[in-house]
């Protein structure tokens, strides 16, 4: 019995001693009270560890630790932030540029606000676009860091700069897109097609264009949008066409439903006119969704826009966030689906041509995936025409890291106007995102089914839109 007690005591002793085997983190987390470049780098590197969500792509092993080991001594050599000379600051910017360049996240940009210099912003996806267009790495770096993209116009993919909704409306349809003061709204009607060259394409059309930097009210709070243009038309042979510059529908529609704001009511009327045709059986024999130059916007718009096309929910993607602060500590993948419209009687099974190009991003890419999923899994018939998209899929949320433990973050006081505060602002999504088919296209983009039609800026500026013509051709002929 005594022996048994001894054994029991030994067991208990062992149990308590094992508690000390569990290791706490090896480094003290860095403070945000940074005074040296080495501290600034450490704070940023650590927050990237915690809040960046694409580590399975960008550091499947210890690559990110190697970045720290390589660059920490270089930042240490740069010394104190306060009073640093322009040469040192240029080095710091170079280091951050080189470190961030391989990141897959196409939403990612870093904004640096160092003392005594204008704030600088650079994005790996923009550099990828420059490289894809034929710039050398040195030229791409110069274009990105010194904001001299326009000086490389002869190299830069002309579609990247020119092929977007406003230019399509102006060049191809002859609509005056210069808007000032209040938004311009032309109802969806036969009268509108008398304008410009619209009658060459459509029998009914309508559009809504806001001025640049337009302030609109959401629950008495004013927000600003750069510019927002929506165009919808139907051809004589019942082909619907929808183009819009970004995803900013929700606030207007919300206003229309809750505040009876005339601006929101106009846009809602235009949307209803178009989407009623989608829902109505045999009203349309095909649809063209033009997402060229569309850089995305509000995720809430996705349901608003595409639910008319479906009578059953359509999974477009899977998303996952971070569970804890380790790089590869992910939650489960959750389905992201477009909810069906209750009034839709069937999934839209007529041909849908989706036009995309290099700057097509985020919600615009999610929308492309919606039509691909409709085709692949729900009896739809979609065809993607144009260029490979940018590959920026994860959803963003303002300072998401505070809430979700992933996403956008900053180092220093973002809203302070004190020039002594040193800032890194880091734009990155809260969730990792992969398509309905399980393929992660972040940083890679969506390849079109038909990339054959090249963009010709001269033709486009003179009113010929070869890619739009190809979309009409595919719907009319099936080839």
């Amino acid at each position: 019995m005594k022996k048994n007690i001894t054994i029991l005591l030994t067991i208990l002793l062992l149990l308590f001693s094992f508690t000390s085997c569990r290791q706490d983190i090896t480094k003290v987390p860095p403070t945000e009270e940074v005074t040296t470049y080495a501290e600034l780098f450490t704070a940023w590197w650590d927050k990237m560890n915690k809040y960046y969500v694409f580590w399975d792509l960008d550091s499947p092993g210890r690559e990110w630790d190697e970045v720290y080991d390589e660059y920490y001594p270089l930042f240490e050599e740069c010394g104190e932030i306060e009073g640093s000379d322009p040469e040192t600051q240029a080095k710091v910017i170079d280091y951050f540029y080189d470190i961030t360049l391989p990141l897959s996240d196409s939403h990612y940009y870093m904004e640096l606000n160092l003392p005594g210099m204008d704030s600088i912003r650079f994005a790996p996806s923009r550099v990828r676009a420059y490289l894809r267009a034929g710039l050398t790495p040195e030229e791409a770096k110069d274009a990105a860091l010194n904001n001299r993209g326009s000086e490389y116009e002869k190299y830069v993919n002309s579609a990247f700069r020119n092929e977007n909704t406003l230019n399509i409306l102006k060049n191809v349809f002859g609509i005056n897109t210069s808007v000032s003061g209040e938004p311009v709204y032309k109802p969806f009607s036969e009268d509108t097609v008398r304008e410009g060259k619209l009658s060459e394409y459509f029998t009914q059309a309508g559009y809504f264009i806001t001025p640049e930097n337009y302030d609109y009210a959401v629950d008495r709070e004013t927000e600003e949008i750069n510019s927002f243009a929506v165009f919808a038309g139907i051809t004589e042979d019942k082909i619907g066409y929808l183009a819009f510059s970004n995803f900013t529908f929700s606030p207007f529609i919300y206003n229309a439903m809750h505040n009876e704001e005339p601006v929101g009511s106009d846009l809602m009327e235009l949307c209803n006119s178009f989407f009623d045709s989608v829902t109505e059986t045999d009203a349309l024999d095909g649809v063209i969704i033009d997402l060229r130059g569309n850089g995305g916007g509000l995720v809430t718009d996705l349901n608003l826009l595409w639910s008319s096309f479906i009578s059953e929910d359509v999974k477009i993607a899977e998303i996952r966030g971070k569970k804890i602060d380790n790089r590869q500590s992910y939650s489960s993948w959750q389905d992201l689906a477009i909810q069906a419209n209750e009034s839709a009687e069937r999934n839209f099974d007529k041909p849908v041509a989706v036009l995309v190009n290099g700057p097509t991003a985020s919600c615009a890419e999610m929308s492309t995936l919606f039509f691909m999923a409709l085709r692949d899994n729900h009896g739809g018939n979609a065809y993607v025409i144009g260029d490979t998209t940018i590959g920026a899929h994860g959803p963003l949320e303002e300072l998401g890291s505070d809430k979700y433990g992933s996403g956008e973050f900053h180092i220093g006081d973002l809203i302070s106007v004190d020039p002594e505060i040193y800032i890194i602002f880091n734009n990155t999504p809260i969730y990792e995102f992969r398509g309905y088919d399980g393929i992660n296209r972040e940083g890679v983009g969506i390849e079109p089914d038909d990339p054959s039609v090249a963009f010709n800026v001269q033709e486009f500026n003179s009113g010929t839109d070869a890619r739009l013509n190809r979309a009409f051709e595919w719907i009319r002929t099936g080839n």
Partner: protein
């Protein structure tokens, strides 16, 4: 109830040596029970709070008696080890999830028994080896601004997740024998994991451990030529 307990204690106090030796007997059984997962995290954000989680286990236990009082216990067990995680942001729920790590375990323990041939008490200690084959979560999460019911399988990454687990095992139990070849028992076990859930794949690694306390009921049958009352 009180009377039953007194009878049980008296029965256990009868010296086991009064009975014949059962050295060399082997028993095989089936058991199932409740598991309380105990999550332990070293470092990391304090924005998420963790709580013990409820799950269940089931297994095929094996016990080999070296002597009347010393035996070797092992078997093959499935065990769910769960924990709760909750994150709030400005009074808004970000997630409230029950996370369950699913293991196949092989315990290896030495067991000391005291019995009178009918009623047995035992205490044991050893180690266990585990294989984590699945990780799931269910509950509520904020998905794109709206709380959604969440249920899913977390992809286990062989480069980042520790698929194999090992730890210390302690147990305490008692059983009643039916006839000379079967026994019904109840056992309480505590498993203390030596292995973090994540591999040490980065600097500033936050280590997470998942221990478990379980209570199981089982039924053993002697196999071969053994006899509990021999």
């Amino acid at each position: 109830m009180k009377k039953t307990l007194i009878i049980l204690l008296i029965a256990l106090m009868v010296p086991a040596s009064l009975f014949a030796s059962r050295a060399g007997t082997l028993s095989l059984g089936l058991e199932a029970g409740y598991t309380l997962g105990l999550y332990d995290q070293k470092g990391g954000s304090s924005a998420t709070t963790y709580s013990p989680g409820h799950a269940f286990g089931i297994g095929v236990p094996l016990e080999y008696h070296f002597t009347n009082w010393l035996s070797f216990a092992s078997g093959l067990f499935y065990e769910g080890r769960a924990y709760g995680s909750e994150r709030m942001y400005e009074d808004e729920l970000v997630f409230n999830l029950r996370n369950t790590e699913h293991f196949f375990d092989v315990p290896v323990a030495l067991r000391l028994s005291l019995d009178n041939g009918v009623v047995r008490g035992f205490i044991g200690a050893g180690v266990y080896l585990g294989w984590r084959f699945r990780s799931t979560e269910d509950g509520k999460s904020m998905i794109l601004g709206a709380p959604e019911n969440t249920s899913g399988v977390i992809e286990l990454n062989p480069n980042a997740d520790n698929i194999f687990d090992s730890g210390f095992l302690a147990e305490l139990g008692g059983g009643v024998r039916f006839g000379n070849r079967s026994e019904m028992y109840i056992a309480a076990r505590y498993k203390y994991s030596f292995t973090a859930l994540d591999k040490n794949y980065q600097d500033n690694m936050i280590n997470r451990y998942l221990d478990a306390f379980s209570v199981s009921i089982g039924y053993n049958i002697l196999i071969g030529n053994g006899d509990y009352l021999r």
